[in-house]
Symmetry: C2
Subunit: 386 residues, 2 copies
């Protein structure tokens, strides 16, 4: 087991009706900005529940934060925060809204001239404007971590940011929200969370026996609830386990004491930037090729995963590891998630070269758990994903 | 899954050499009180490492906190804290020292006349004097939770206390400390942590699929590392997984969203108070009888446990559940832990009646996950444990 530090101070309020408990989590007298996305919360009743709970608070609103939260839109919200002297934010949405609010939390207190520097210069945010969240779409885990990914259309870029100051003060997780999520987004959420676990697990054995088992627990639970959630998103038990699994998949716990990969995300982000493919689907496109290409370095964990998560046994290590990749692909297919780039776009030719060049231009640090992947490797992996 | 709230702000510093990082976790200029037990830390080098790390801080010391931290001893430490205007405490020890420091954290800021009221009147501590810990004995999980158990010899009583103000600010977990722990205490630690998981797991199915699997992960890991730790406590990988499993067993995570039992602890505490039997061993005495007596209400989870944790399958539910109890007993025996009261004391006759009467005298609220156990049930369970 590797040395690690772990601290996660976010308070979780989980279950039916927890939105009504918002007032006890927000400082009395705070001037609030409530931020949300395209307005689906007005259809599914969450907007009304939140407004009802916040009676007595001064609440301003900012809507229209898009999927892959867009820098230019966030700058408008930042102006509201500063002009109106907002002292607490409430993100009501999925990972995009929450990530956008994390950027705002950092930017509101940032002392530099240009908030873009937070992203381009990888500023670690130690203190942010406090915020809470009401999660409406289980997937990214952003509700219980301190990281965010922000996009800029203008330059087709996606940047990660974070820091210990960016944990939500609290997050409300009411699994009843799952009932109104479209099937496509449910499939995305399951795929996203599942791949989060894979990125922190599918490396090489590091003697972190407990972390391995907890990671496997999350994947087993996602596999078990996936068909139930897709079939009937109002199945509360399935929805609750889906929601809590997504949070646990990326709240820091399973990444501690182990090597982590994240190359799938790095390549996937480029596919979203280039083609607008849903984040989760880019992960499903890259993951199988990534594991096939890096088979020799990952085969022990692939085999362990095949055995413990998919009950594949009684084969050679290599056969078992190969079966692990196959089962992963089939799991994505069972969710109606395609796993080849050519199934999403006709104009995929040259993508591998473009992505590889972009990585090189940005300054190459190596990808993967060994930081050993080169731009040439990336080119080959993306090409295998066509 | 039941509704829940979860927040755990303790920062964990895990791994080799983490004691050297103490200074960055303690407020500059703080006047420190370092508290420890009987002095084993002077033999195993931990005392020297801590003192070395704390150079430059004003450090007072209070030693002699006994196993089952004793109220009268703690009052002496409380006097030092007040007289010397201590503003940060460092607990260096196992669960007893850390629990004692939690009582002091509460008592130092308590505004009532009599600190005993914190225990007898079940005061919930919202704010305590800040403290950190250096864990020297994996077992209780106290290093990452906000609860404590305090004893009073004079009255043969053990009381629980806690509150959100009693989380350690940080805990240093260096698995190298395991190397110098005597076999008897290692066996106790494994048994204690294992039973902590059982108390939060062995109830009735509540649709908390992820929590179940994480609980099973901790038990599987403890079972896997137990023989390695006992055989060679300097096996770092085994020690690290043992240590992290003990912490995860009682940091709040697996008790959220599920019913919990804790009747084994309630009865076990009485055995420690009456006979001075090690805490962990009292749990091993009570657990099998408790599960046999409450078989009908727990058989589904017992069977699930037998299958997933012990790989016992292809039997009827009842047979599988029975096998689960048997495997638990055998696991304790494999650690040289006896599971009958008569193996610890010759004067066990009448114990069941005494314990049952004590519960009645204190005001009976019901024990177990259904709060349905009566004093009469307790009498029978303890009798079955003779």
């Amino acid at each position: 087991m590797l040395n690690f530090e772990f601290r996660n101070p976010t308070k979780i309020l989980f279950g039916k009706g927890q939105i009504a408990n918002l007032p006890k989590e927000i400082p009395a007298g705070a001037k609030l900005l409530m931020l949300y996305g395209g307005g689906s919360i007005k259809q599914n009743g969450i907007y009304d529940q939140v407004k009802e709970a916040l009676q007595g608070f001064t609440v301003l609103e900012f809507s229209g934060i898009p999927a892959n939260p867009e820098y230019e839109v966030l700058l408008k919200a930042l102006k509201v925060i500063k002009d109106e002297k907002i002292d607490f934010m409430l993100a009501v949405g999925g990972g995009s809204v929450i990530d956008g609010v994390k950027f705002l939390s950092s930017a509101a207190l940032y002392e530099g001239d240009n908030p873009w520097d937070i992203l381009s210069k990888k500023v670690v945010t130690k203190k942010g404007l406090p915020f809470g969240t009401v999660l409406t779409l289980p997937a990214t885990g952003s509700e219980m971590n301190s990281g965010a990914v922000i996009s800029r259309k203008e330059t087709q870029e996606k940047f990660s940011m974070g820091g210990p100051g960016l944990f939500p003060q609290f997050s409300v997780l009411d699994p009843q929200v799952v009932a109104s999520i479209p099937k496509r987004q449910l499939a995305n959420g399951i795929t996203d969370a599942f791949t989060h676990v894979l990125e922190q697990y599918m490396t090489y054995p590091a003697g972190a026996m407990l972390q391995d088992r907890i990671a496997e627990s999350i994947m087993q639970t996602l596999i078990e609830v996936a068909p139930r959630v897709i079939k009937d998103p109002s199945d509360y038990e399935a929805a609750a386990n889906f929601m809590w699994s997504c949070t646990m998949a990326l709240n820091g716990l399973i990444q501690k004491g182990v090597p982590t990969d994240w190359a799938i995300h790095a390549m996937g982000h480029e596919l979203t930037a280039m083609f607008g493919i849903d984040h989760a689907r880019t992960l499903a496109i890259i993951a199988p090729s990534h594991y096939r290409y890096n088979f020799s370095g990952k085969k022990e964990k692939l085999a362990q995963y095949a055995e413990r998560v998919w009950n594949v046994t009684a084969m050679s290590l290599e056969e078992q590891a190969t079966a692990g990749i196959k089962m992963t692909e089939e799991f994505f297919h069972s969710l109606d998630i395609d796993t080849r780039l050519s199934e999403y776009t006709g104009s995929y030719e040259g993508t591998a070269q473009i992505i590889s060049r972009r990585f090189t231009e940005r300054g190459w640090n190596g990808l993967g758990e060994r930081k050993a992947l080169t731009p040439d490797d990336v080119e080959k992996i993306v090409e295998m994903s066509y």
